[in-house]
Symmetry: C2
C-alpha cells in the first residue's frame, strides 16, 4: 500500500477566510466532482482548515490563509493491483475550475509525494532542495559500529552507496574520483600517496592504473570495503580484491592514529587524498565535525612533502557559506598554504560539487 | 508569505484506526509539545483524519490508514522577517517519540515542500520524479503565439530556458550541444547542415566554430532567439547576433514547409540536426505529438544525402518505453535506416539523457 499525496496551491484574492462556509462553496463543488465530500471545518487563528474524504480511499486537506493562499493536499491510497484515480489531468481540472472562479495564480507539484513506499527515495541536497531518486532496489544494508551503510540500485546511476542517509558515490560518478585525484593534471607514477577513507575503492583503483611507488589507504569500515567489492564494481573494479599488493596496502583502521604515527616517524607523502566527509554545513565553523576537519587538515599537511599536494572534496556549490568557512580555516592553518578549487557536476549527487587542491606556501 | 509543508510518515502496527481517540493519545502528546492542539477528528471509511493547529501559524493534518501507516503533514506559515519554528530537528524529535511509543519504522521528507513562493521551483523528470531547482530569479517570461517562454537563473546552472514548463537547456549544458552534434566524432568543415529548431543558438554556435560550408537553421519563435541572445550568452555566445552571415542563415519560420520546399528543390544536407522536441512520453505511439515526430523524421531523412547523418535528442534514460517506441518507428520508416544511441548526464535536466544518430541503410 502506497499513499500518493498530490499538492496544489492557489492564490484566491477573493477568499473570505473568516467565513469558511461561504468561501468554501467553490472548493466543495470541485472536490465533490471527485466524490470527495466535506467531513469537517475548523476555523483557525489564521484562516480555516477542511477535511474531505471519499468512500474510495481518498482524502483531502484544504487550508486557507489570510492573504488568499489556498493549499489542497489530496491523499490517495493506492492498493497494489488497483488503478489510482488521481492524476495530473485531474489536478489541472481542479486548478482550472478554481481559476475560472477567481483564483488568480496556481502552482502545483505535478508529481505526487509517495508515502509508505518500501524504501526512501527522497534525499535533500546540501542546501535542502528536495530530490527524488529512481531507486528500484535496496541492494544492501548494514548498521556497522561506525555508520549505517546502504546500497541502492538506480537505473540511471547504477549501484549507489549511502552512508548515514547521505549519498556518497554511485557507479556513474567516475568524474568524482577523477576530480579528487586532480582531474588528470597529476602524474602519480613512482609517487607515495596516502588515501584517507576512500572505502568505495574508486581512488585506489584510479591510482593503481598509474604505477605509483606506494599507496597507503586507511579506511575505518570493513563493511564498506566488502560491500563495495561485491556491489560497487563500477567504482572499485578489482582494486580491493586483495587488501595488499606490491605497491599498495589498505589498512582497515581509524586514520587519525596512523597520521600521528607517520608524523612521529617523519614519514612524508607526495599526495594526501582526503575522501572522508564533506565540509559540514553549519551556521558557524564550530563543533565536533569542524574540530575533526581541522584536525585531519593539520595532520595531513604535516605528512605532506614540501612540494606535495593535498586533495579533498568540499561540498555542494550551493553551500557557499560552508565553503567560505572552510577557506577561512585554510588561511588560519599553522603551516601557511595556498589552494585552488574546481567545480564539477557529480551525476548521482544531482548537484554541482566543489573540490579543493591545497599545497604548502614555500 | 510562504507555507512550508513538512511531511512525516510512520508505521504504527499497534494503531487502532477504529478508535481514533485512544490511538491518537500519543500523537496528541507529541504535537502538544509544539503547541499544536486538536481541532477535529474525522472517522473515515479507511482510518481517521485529525486536524491540529496552534496559535502561531502552524497546523497539522494527521491521517491514519488501516494497515498502520500514519502520515503527519505540518504546515508552517512563515512570514518574512520572522523565524520559522519547525526544522528537521523537531521532525526527528517527533519521529523518535513516536518510535519509542511503538512506531516501527519512520521515513520523512527531511526538507519541506515550499508553497506560496514567488515562482515554481518544482519540475518533475520524464518519469515523474520530483525535483526542486535552486532558481533565485525569474529573468524573463513571455507568452508567444507558440509557447510560454521562461528563463530562470540558477546558481548552479546559470540561466535556464523553460518552454511550456519543460526544462529546455541551461548555460551549464554544453554537453547537450556537443552530444547532439555527434560528440566530436564528426568533421563539419565544408559540410551543409540543417538545424531544425535550436532557438537557443547552442548548435549553431558549435557548428560555426568548425567552418561549415553552410548552416541553415529554421526556428519558429523569434522570442526564443531574442531572449537567448540577451540572457543565454553561455549557450549561443555571439552566434545569433546577426541572423545571417557568409555561411549561415537563421530562418524564423515553421520548419515543415521549408523541409517540403527543400525536398521539392532536390536539396540535400550532409547533416540534419533535429533540436525540436523530445520523444513524447505516452502509453502508445499515437496522437498529434507522434504524428509530428514521424513527419519530421520522414521529411528529414528525405533531405539527407546518402551518406548523411541525422542527429536528435531522445528522452530521459528512465523513459525506456518511450525510447523503445521511437526505435520501433525508426524501423518502420519508408527509407530503411540504422541508428546508434548515446547517453549522457545533462546537468540542468538532473537526469541522464539519450541521443540518437540515424543514417540511411545503403
Amino acid at each position: 500500500m502506497v499513499v500518493n499525496t498530490f499538492m496544489i496551491e492557489l492564490s484566491c484574492p477573493n477568499l473570505n477566510v473568516n467565513n469558511p462556509d461561504s468561501s468554501s462553496k467553490v472548493i466543495e463543488k470541485v472536490l465533490n466532482e471527485y466524490s470527495l465530500t466535506k467531513n469537517s471545518v475548523s476555523l483557525l487563528n489564521d484562516g480555516f482548515a477542511m477535511v474531505f474524504s471519499s468512500e474510495t480511499s481518498c482524502s483531502a486537506f484544504v487550508r486557507a490563509y489570510p492573504d488568499g493562499l489556498l493549499t489542497i493536499d489530496i491523499h490517495e491510497r493506492v492498493v497494489s493491483g488497483e488503478n489510482n484515480r488521481f492524476s495530473n489531468d485531474i489536478l489541472s481540472h481542479i486548478e482550472n475550475k478554481m481559476k475560472s472562479e477567481g483564483a488568480s495564480r496556481t502552482l502545483s507539484l505535478t508529481t505526487p509525494v509517495k508515502r509508505g513506499t518500501k524504501f526512501n527515495c527522497y534525499f535533500p541536497t546540501t542546501v535542502g532542495l528536495l530530490i527524488e531518486y529512481d531507486f528500484d532496489e535496496l541492494v544492501f544494508e548494514e548498521q556497522t559500529p561506525f555508520q549505517n551503510v546502504k546500497i541502492y540500485h538506480s537505473p540511471q546511476f547504477g549501484n549507489m552507496l549511502i552512508l548515514d542517509d547521505d549519498p556518497n558515490l554511485a557507479e556513474s560518478d567516475i568524474i568524482y574520483t577523477r576530480t579528487i585525484c586532480g582531474s588528470g593534471r597529476e602524474n602519480f607514477k613512482d609517487k607515495n600517496i596516502l588515501i584517507l577513507g576512500g572505502g568505495d575503492g574508486g581512488i585506489l583503483n584510479e591510482l593503481l592504473k598509474q604505477n605509483p611507488a606506494y599507496v597507503t589507504m586507511v579506511e575505518i569500515d570493513q563493511v564498506v570495503i566488502d560491500a563495495s567489492v561485491k556491489y560497487l564494481r563500477g567504482i572499485c573494479d578489482s582494486a580491493m580484491d586483495k587488501l595488499e599488493g606490491d605497491n599498495y596496502k589498505v589498512i582497515v583502521e581509524d586514520c587519525v592514529p596512523w597520521l600521528e604515527k607517520f608524523i612521529k616517524e617523519g614519514k612524508k607523502f607526495d599526495y594526501v587524498i582526503n575522501d572522508l566527509t564533506a565540509i559540514p554545513v553549519t551556521p558557524e565553523p564550530v563543533g565536533e565535525m569542524w574540530e575533526f576537519m581541522r584536525k585531519i587538515l593539520n595532520l595531513s599537511i604535516s605528512v605532506l612533502s614540501d612540494n606535495g599536494k593535498y586533495f579533498t572534496q568540499g561540498n555542494g556549490l550551493n553551500a557557499q557559506s560552508a565553503l567560505k568557512m572552510y577557506e577561512k580555516q585554510l588561511n588560519l592553518l599553522e603551516t601557511r598554504v595556498e589552494y585552488s578549487k574546481e567545480k564539477v557536476f557529480v551525476p548521482s549527487y544531482l548537484e554541482c560539487w566543489v573540490f579543493y587542491e591545497v599545497w604548502k606556501k614555500l
